[in-house]
């Protein structure tokens, strides 16, 4: 396995599982750039490593710039005949390293059209430092820096990526593992930057029992809180249409981070989700 089982994340963490699914989907050898975060600290403790592929961890907010350098060096060395193998380049970062501190580096790398796959493991907060809010934290979500719930809605990473007109963008979760695998394969075969935003529910700071991981993922999709869709060369396609769209409250009520959420807050969140879902259906080609 490219990422072995010796990753020291918390009980019930999905990050190693998601990473394995994605990295095993690459037919070519992979070089990985890791942003500082849960997966990085739990997989690279000196003198060991959990990785059987080359990995570089530089800083928190520069993983997309780091992979730009790796890809550029590879291209230069290939021109000289000093690099012969075909390779894939992969970034793995959390939402803090993507939506916040790494957004500029990511935007730059997408605009320069490097050929790389960027995976955001989105657990909606700074879980590695104790569960602070990020710009991916949902409205009304309680974190250690928003003890009364976050007053604003989350940033729309997919729309930001789409504004760069890159060949492939997807939102995924382990609710549908085959869908995630398929998206990873598509991302690796894209002729340019590809971004996959994967939901990474965090039992520790979303405050739910690890055995409910499956249910949380299912509800994230069936409530359309986390719709599964992709944008391929500008064409949007919904990958999962729930037979019956569930109220968001069913998803929220399973998590301690929404404890004490008011009726009007739930309503505001529901309206936001409904509007975004209608918008998505309108632009979806299938």
């Amino acid at each position: 396995m490219r990422l072995n089982s010796d990753v020291k994340t918390c009980l019930g963490c999905v990050e190693p599982i998601i990473t394995r699914i994605i990295i095993e989907a690459s037919e070519l050898p992979v070089i990985v750039s890791l942003a500082t975060g849960c997966l990085e600290v739990s997989s690279t403790k000196y003198p060991g490593t959990s990785w059987n592929v080359p990995v570089i961890h530089s800083a928190f907010g520069n993983s997309a710039a780091t992979i730009s350098g790796v890809e550029a060096a590879y291209n230069a060395l290939r021109k000289k005949g000093e690099a012969k193998e075909n390779l894939n380049f992969l970034v793995i970062a959390g939402d803090g390293g993507t939506y916040d501190i790494g957004l500029q580096a990511l935007s730059g790398a997408m605009e320069r059209m490097h050929k790389f796959v960027y995976v955001c493991l989105d657990n909606a907060g700074y879980m590695n430092t104790g569960g602070q809010r990020s710009s991916s934290t949902p409205y009304a979500g309680i974190t250690s820096t928003t003890p009364e719930g976050k007053p604003t809605f989350r940033k729309d990473l997919i729309k930001i990526a789409a504004a760069h007109n890159i060949p492939y963008i997807a939102q995924a979760s382990i609710f549908d593992i085959e869908d995630l695998k398929r998206k990873a394969k598509k991302a690796f075969s894209a002729q340019g930057p590809a971004l996959i935003n994967v939901l990474a529910p965090c039992p520790r700071y979303w405050r739910f029992e690890p055995q409910n991981m499956r249910k949380i993922n299912e509800l994230s999709a069936s409530t359309c809180f986390w719709p599964l869709f992709e944008i391929e060369n500008g064409r949007t396609k919904i990958n999962y249409l729930p037979e019956q769209k569930m109220p968001v409250e069913t998803f929220l009520s399973m998590q301690g981070r929404f404890k004490g959420i008011t009726k009007s807050q739930i309503q505001a969140l529901q309206e936001k989700i409904d509007n975004e879902w209608e918008e998505l259906k309108k632009i979806s080609s299938a």
């Binding site: 050898p29 070089i31 750039s33 890791l34 990085e40 600290v41 690279t44 403790k45 000196y46 003198p47 490593t49 990785w51 059987n52 592929v53 080359p54 990995v55 570089i56 961890h57 530089s58 800083a59 907010g61 520069n62 710039a65 780091t66 992979i67 730009s68 350098g69 790796v70 890809e71 550029a72 060096a73 590879y74 291209n75 230069a76 060395l77 021109k79 000289k80 690099a83 193998e85 390779l87 500029q104 580096a105 935007s107 730059g108 790398a109 605009e111 320069r112």
Partner: protein
């Protein structure tokens, strides 16, 4: 062959000959000429490397780190705010032991914003684990580019090659250029083992290190840094065979029987030497000492050059707020007795009472040694 070049163009000409596999930078006055010059050369097909004009200095150095980890020759150029924006990555580049070549046009730090020369930028980075060389002229920029590259590669440490903003970066001088073939032979090939691109032997770079291992990483870096004094001497000797120029770590100007010596760095050296000549004509025994290699600091050579002086003046082009300026502090380090430097507690390593007892015991026994001792 001689060409009329300013310091930025001299750097560009050296980079044309080095032809690094990856060059990445972000525009900042007064070094924009380097990236622009390289872009022109690339468009004329005179270089083969990848040029990445990125969206910030933070990303420029991050690109260099990623590329250098792959075994590519890598360079960048920056100044002032740009260097400060890179600061987070400076320790990562040196900690990962990557021989990145950085050209600096020394410039003042905001606020207030000012685009002209002082050394506040690179002096703020003097303890970041990068080698540092300071150039007086465009000729030195050109020649020391190759020496800096070889030094960085031999020590597996990154290097800053500093020239004074505007004074050197923008002043035309006749610069002696060496044949491409000679330079190619001198710089040779850079073939580090076990790079990030080796998928057969996958390497994890940038580990998470706890208090039980962090100190050793830093100690190894310091050893590489101090060892590079010898390497520098070896490299300049080799270089003088193709250029005829000698670039010792310090340049002594009429210091050997001088009563009074002035010490400084970079472009001020020109008028300092002129002044020495004027005073010598009047029979006043003065001399000038230029520090070229600032990291590692050549203590032995500096002490030797200054030991008989009746008075020493040190001219720093930067302040060290709340303290003494940096070059002055280094010169003072040459003349200390009964004081021993120790380093302890890196990366959270504990220090014990027994170790503190040991420090006092050594003092009472007058047990001193040259260089820093480590309490691990």
């Amino acid at each position: 062959m001689r060409k009329a070049l300013n310091g930025a163009e001299a750097a560009t000409e050296a980079l044309r000959q080095i032809d690094p596999e990856v060059f990445s930078a972000y525009p900042i006055t007064p070094v924009t000429g380097i990236a622009e010059g390289l872009a022109d050369l690339a468009s004329e097909g005179r270089t083969t490397g990848e040029l990445l004009p990125v969206e910030s200095e933070h990303s420029a150095l991050s690109v260099c780190i990623g590329a250098s980890a792959c075994g590519a020759r890598t360079a960048t150029a920056t100044s002032s705010q740009g260097l400060l924006y890179m600061f987070e990555l400076l320790g990562i580049a040196s900690g990962l032991r990557l021989p990145i070549l950085m050209f600096i046009g020394n410039r003042a730090i905001s606020a207030p914003i000012n685009i002209h020369c002082d050394h506040s930028d690179s002096m703020a980075a003097k303890d970041s684990g990068w080698l540092q060389v300071y150039c007086e002229t465009a000729q030195e920029v050109y020649d020391l580019s190759f020496i800096a590259l070889k030094l960085a590669e031999s020590a597996s440490l990154p290097i800053m090659l500093c020239q004074d903003g505007f004074i050197t970066t923008h002043t035309l001088e006749p610069v002696k250029i060496i044949d491409d073939a000679e330079i190619k032979k001198f710089i040779g090939f850079h073939k580090p083992k076990d790079t990030l691109l080796n998928t057969k032997k996958p390497k994890t770079m940038g580990h998470f290190s706890m208090p039980d291992s962090y100190f050793e990483f830093k100690e190894a870096q310091e050893k590489a840094m101090s060892h590079s004094i010898k390497e520098y001497s070896r490299i300049i000797k080799k270089y003088s065979r193709i250029s005829g120029e000698k670039y010792p770590p310090i340049a002594r100007y009429k210091t050997s029987r001088a009563d009074f010596i002035m010490v400084s760095m970079s472009s001020v050296s020109g008028i300092a030497k002129d002044t020495v000549d004027e005073l010598r004509k009047k029979g006043i025994k003065v001399g000038f000492l230029k520090i070229r290699l600032f990291r590692p600091f050549p203590y032995k050579a500096v002490c030797e050059a200054l030991k008989n002086a009746k008075g020493i003046a040190v001219l720093d082009r930067t302040l060290s707020f709340g303290s003494m300026p940096p070059l002055y502090s280094e010169i003072k380090n040459c003349f200390m007795g009964n004081i021993q430097p120790y380093v302890f507690g890196l990366g959270g390593r504990d220090i014990t009472k027994e170790q503190i007892h040991e420090v006092f015991k050594k003092l009472s026994k007058k047990d001193y040694e040259e260089g820093t001792r480590y309490i691990k």
